[in-house]
Symmetry: D2
């Protein structure tokens, strides 16, 4: 196919350019999605700022973006649905389907995952059209905007984290880090019946959003020691479940320190500085269970249902929108935590 | 102690009398509670109507009632709290504390349980004063009425049932039977993140209360086959979790029939007609897990917290109140499902 | 393909005939297996004796048999393995691979399962060649006979049942019914660390085999009340886990009666008489968890590994072998529990 | 009471002396045990070598020792059993019995635990008599030596660790560190059905014992990189469950590296150098569950039953025995890993 489309290519650190590239065609089992909105994720910004995340290096110009929503415009062979015209949120990781982990239904830990917009070789969604496996394009309801559709991805992470936590009504919870994933985790923990949620972050605007979504007590960790504050507020008991969603070097230790004996920790955040240093003496004394969380697994349909049912106020996360031509501005704002940004979305006009 | 108090004694079938009996004194480890409100439970009414439940037979006059709330007025020896003047809800089952099950923290399955108001020998709470173990008198907040305090008991059952179900946000649920326990189960399932709750009962007034508390779809089983209705509404899939709270002969089979393959059933209801007949072929084909629910376990504090936080609208369950002298009238109304009764409470004026 | 092969066809009740029928060709994704041994299962005998199991009716001549082992002799298109010449045990249920349950890794509860040798329309393995999905043909080691290979199927059921039970070392167990599945369940429970296993059956020869495989105490239920015997032997406590593998009308109630409070029951057996009558009062008082078991799930490779490692003495189950021409004799012996039969196998000479 | 007894007192680093001290009298609820054998634990040796473990400091002369077995010789008030003359293994941690964790049956995480032989203030068992709570003195069978009785304590740790792991038959396991706790963990993992156990240690004599107790493949980590060896042996898959029982700085990372995606890690070891540095990137990518293990919980009776049933060969752990007068020699041998020592026991002659 010799058709062209507009795309934002990252050429190197801080160098993102709008160019015309070939429009993809849907292969067998794929649908072509006309992209309408794509979230800007912290990992996108990290590639933009540093040119790499661990072993994933930007070696040639690449289209980033892995939180797309849009409309199905063409079906590849052997696709029975979703049909042309269906508005969809796209789950961005596509497992092999054959390995032990896929067969056991835990496809999120497939070792042969293709991931949308992941350097060096997997192009992403900051462009007009993407071809994606039909099974990973999930219909969204008419009343849901494309921007909110693009936010199903971080909501699915929060939902999966809460599923891993095995909560029950009346538990106490802490969420460390209230970026978009922390916020959706907060919301899902409240949906799971949390009685009291303690939220920590460095930015007051995020803590305000956390309160909107279900947090009961907030701690600005730039001003107050969150461990002391939460232990004090719980009369020294600690909380039943801690969600680490900050990805900071110090939050894993905080999680251990504020968990109740016998409690659980769910590790969601991606700390770029490894190794992490933790004193695990208390983890052992408290006999904690630490569950690491890998993205999401079978979570998109449920996340869409919850959002469609009004169980999640996505507006208070959806703070900034940019056109494709202004994507660099969006990246800078997210990178520098400017203007109270929580989730910024790139809007892509019809192709 | 030669002090007297008023009490309602069940002398035999349909024969309940208000009499003066000796006021109890708190033993070591006990507190004396001045009773202010006591719920009328289906089991109380069953003793009133039939004189027995299984092997528990009313052989001599007995004070029934096991859902009391009131105020601590005297402490026995070695009691450090709750202090005199504290308003409390009383957990009515008192385990031995020594057996294998108690030591493992599962005191609700203790085989040596003393249960308040259980024939033939354990007197209950339809009276002015009861002596109860201090550990089973749980403080309630100032803003909670004694009537609502007495309803902590059925709420605790619903909370325990939902804990057994191991739910997560976005699941679909059915609650079969919307008496007070079914209603509180409905509420707790909603608190646990249920996306859609199907509620069934024979009485429309209860289904209306179920909607208030979180049910999304109701089926009056007197008019509509609940299995067909729920399978139809779920496109033949069934629901993730079924709570059997009716105690009817036909509801266990309904639970099997509407559970999704791989799903769970929590059996709460107490069917008086045993044995139950069930075709378990589908239970095996679906590889269901059936969890039987025994009252509550460590549930009172959390139930009180949730009610105190406003997470449970207790008013729509709290339909009828009677004075101690009118207790027989209350029993008749509950027994015959008159006047839209859901939960009736006996109010006991200060001694 | 106009090649022919020998097969045993069930024409009706008690009427099984050896005939020449067309040899199948492997389709895409399938392998052709030259069958060497096929177990005779109680369900095969039930079709032979009654012409039906529930809604599965023998309406036209059908080849039964779903416990085959043999050698791969031809690969269909797109098959990468197992290669020609590989000796395999065949898992007999083939799920759709697309539904919710398959995608979650619980393919054994797929509602669109094709099952080998299931009336009216799925031909089975009492014949020289079968075409099966390559993914369900599992290599067995050189040292394992085809007869033992065919017994991987019932071993996989026992293994799956024990996985469902979530056991730990030192628990006490009862296995009700010591046919081949009960025997393998007994063995797997011992492998899972059972300290004491109580085995019940009506036949002493099976109880002897149970002792070989790990049972510590046996009860012939034709002579002794198993509930009284096991409760007595456990000083009234009961056992931690009960496996119901008899499929008799009375064993579900026995399971409830002998389970310890807080214990678990795994229901494996297929009772042909439904509904089952059970008094569930004690199940609720004990807060039991009843897990229904559906065949096996991801169990074949692990069952083969355990057998290959010598962890399961398959010889004491492998009591009778018949040639294909003598299959009716085998059915009669199994049907009438003659000659100490536990597992009979049909041997099929090379085509 | 003015009776005296012999005891070994640690006065300071490397300074242990046999002295006469007052014999204790059993308080209410306690029994007096005449000590016959006490294991030397790594923590005892650590106090001997460094004078402290973390915040527990030897500030005044103290009797160490927390793995005693002996005979009940006197009952305190309100004790109904075990009776005088009963031989017992003593569980050394005594919880408050009142806190949230005790009431939930998880007494091992009680924050008010008294622990036998723990500086600065809790005297231990290297002496002729100890008074212990009757509920923590567990009868051992006649055929079990006091030395083996004293080894119930480390066996109980291994059993508890395996219970936390939620294993099933056919899983693959690695045990990192084959001291006495690692060895008993190895045995319990085998009892739980492990198909293949990989064992690592720095000492060949311990690896040999590991093979006796169930290990299938051993890696001397002083010579071979255990991560490379185990990943190679498992074709890059890793193992289902890793038990970290070395308490070395590098083993937590090894555990992450060799766990299969979706697998579990149980952290048993007590690393004296904190904080631990770990790169948790792979833990998150693999979505691992890390369960920290705190001693034991309800484990002594089951450990005794398994040992009594012959399921654990304790002889291959029981390598060295010393008289009370030679305790310092025993400490030196354990401290320096001399003479192939695995578990050394102090024998105490009748008082």
């Amino acid at each position: 196919m010799n058709k062209k489309m507009k795309a934002a290519l990252l050429h190197g650190i801080g160098d993102i350019r709008i160019e015309d590239i070939p429009r993809p065609a849907p292969g067998s089992g794929e649908v072509l999605v006309q992209v309408e909105a794509v979230g800007i994720c912290g990992s996108d910004v990290h590639y933009y700022a540093y040119g790499r995340i661990g072993s994933a290096v930007v070696t040639e110009p690449i289209v980033l973006g892995h939180e797309p929503a849009g409309t199905v415009v063409e079906l590849g062979e052997e696709v029975t649905g979703p049909s042309v015209g269906t508005r969809v949120a796209v789950e961005p990781g596509w497992p092999c389907g054959e390995c032990e982990f896929c067969r056991h239904g835990r496809y999120n830990i497939c070792r042969s995952m293709r991931f949308l917009g992941m350097p060096p070789a997997n192009p992403g969604a900051y462009c007009e059209y993407i071809a994606v496996p039909a099974d990973f394009a999930f219909p969204i309801p008419d009343g849901m905007s494309a921007e909110h559709g693009s936010m199903i991805e971080p909501l699915a992470v929060g939902l999966h984290a809460v599923e891993l936590a095995c909560m029950w009504p009346g538990q106490t919870v802490a969420v460390l880090g209230e970026g978009s994933i922390g916020l959706f985790t907060t919301r899902c923990a409240k949906l799971a019946g949390a009685l009291t949620i303690y939220a920590t972050d460095l930015l007051d605007c995020r803590l305000e959003a956390a309160c909107h979504l279900g947090a009961d007590v907030t701690v600005n960790a730039a001003e107050t020691d969150p461990v002391a504050a939460i232990m004090d507020a719980t009369d020294g008991r600690g909380v039943d479940v801690v969600f680490e969603a900050a990805g900071a070097p110090e939050t894993p230790q905080q999680a251990i320190d504020i968990a109740v004996p016998g409690g659980g920790i769910v590790m969601i955040g991606i700390c770029q500085e490894q190794p992490v240093k933790t004193d695990i003496t208390e983890a052992r004394r408290k006999e904690l269970v630490v569950r690491y969380c890998r993205r999401f697994c079978h979570s998109f349909p449920r996340a869409i249902s919850l959002a469609a049912a009004g169980a999640v106020d996505m507006d208070c996360v959806d703070t900034h929108r940019f056109g494709l031509d202004d994507i660099a501005e969006g990246f800078e704002i997210v990178k520098n935590y400017l203007d109270g940004v929580i989730k910024a979305t790139v809007q892509i006009p019809g192709g």
